[in-house]
Symmetry: C2
Subunit: 148 residues, 2 copies
Amino acid sequence: MNDSSDRAASEAQIRALIEARTEAIRAKDVSRATAMMATDALLFDVVNPLQYAGVEAVRKRLAEWFSSFEGAIAHELENVSVAASDDVAFSHSLNHVDGVKKDGQRIDMWWRATVCYRKIDDRWLITHEHASVPFDVATGKASLDLKP
Amino acid sequence: MNDSSDRAASEAQIRALIEARTEAIRAKDVSRATAMMATDALLFDVVNPLQYAGVEAVRKRLAEWFSSFEGAIAHELENVSVAASDDVAFSHSLNHVDGVKKDGQRIDMWWRATVCYRKIDDRWLITHEHASVPFDVATGKASLDLKP
């Protein structure tokens, strides 16, 4: 393959990974949603603490989040942008979740997501993920009701 | 050069860019701090709104932030991690600022930063930056007092 078809192949692989992960999150499947994460992946999550280091910490956090919902969750990504070389890539998007918490609270929120990938032993892995909402300077509150 | 020295050169270039930018932020110099940003750079910032699209929006936001401080600001990065191929790269770090706002409030805070780069016309440019603090689920407040 030439360089530009390599790039196109890499981008297609990253987009397929994103799609598989989005599906796994809809299914609230922790194993599938973290199967493509590097062992030493570092997560900057929407909620405290400052960081989650290692895929085990990410799995625990994700299991906790999934189980906080009563039933099914809707999940979609918008404005997905991907840049990929042959072994380093990143993506960013606006991510949406809609579901009902076990305490009856409806969660219908958007967050910002940036995901970083490396191809290791011929396989794309997520080595870093950054998910967040901004905050309102006037109130100090996290902005949970913003929409793209 | 062989592939691995290319990678080392790319990583060194990204680390130099990060250092130059950190210096520019210490100097509260908007032009220098954004000189390496792509025209269509997309910023997910610590504060509202959800996103800032384009380097002009980023410049305006940065000018506003710099001018909110009374005097000099201290600024440092910790846990800087860089992954670079020949034309796609990313970095992440924990960033610190310490300064006094014009209203007399001391700002001594850490945030999470993820920065994404592309080499365009033989020059590394920031095409995307994600900066945030997490929030406390119990209070809904942004966590401005976390430390690494």
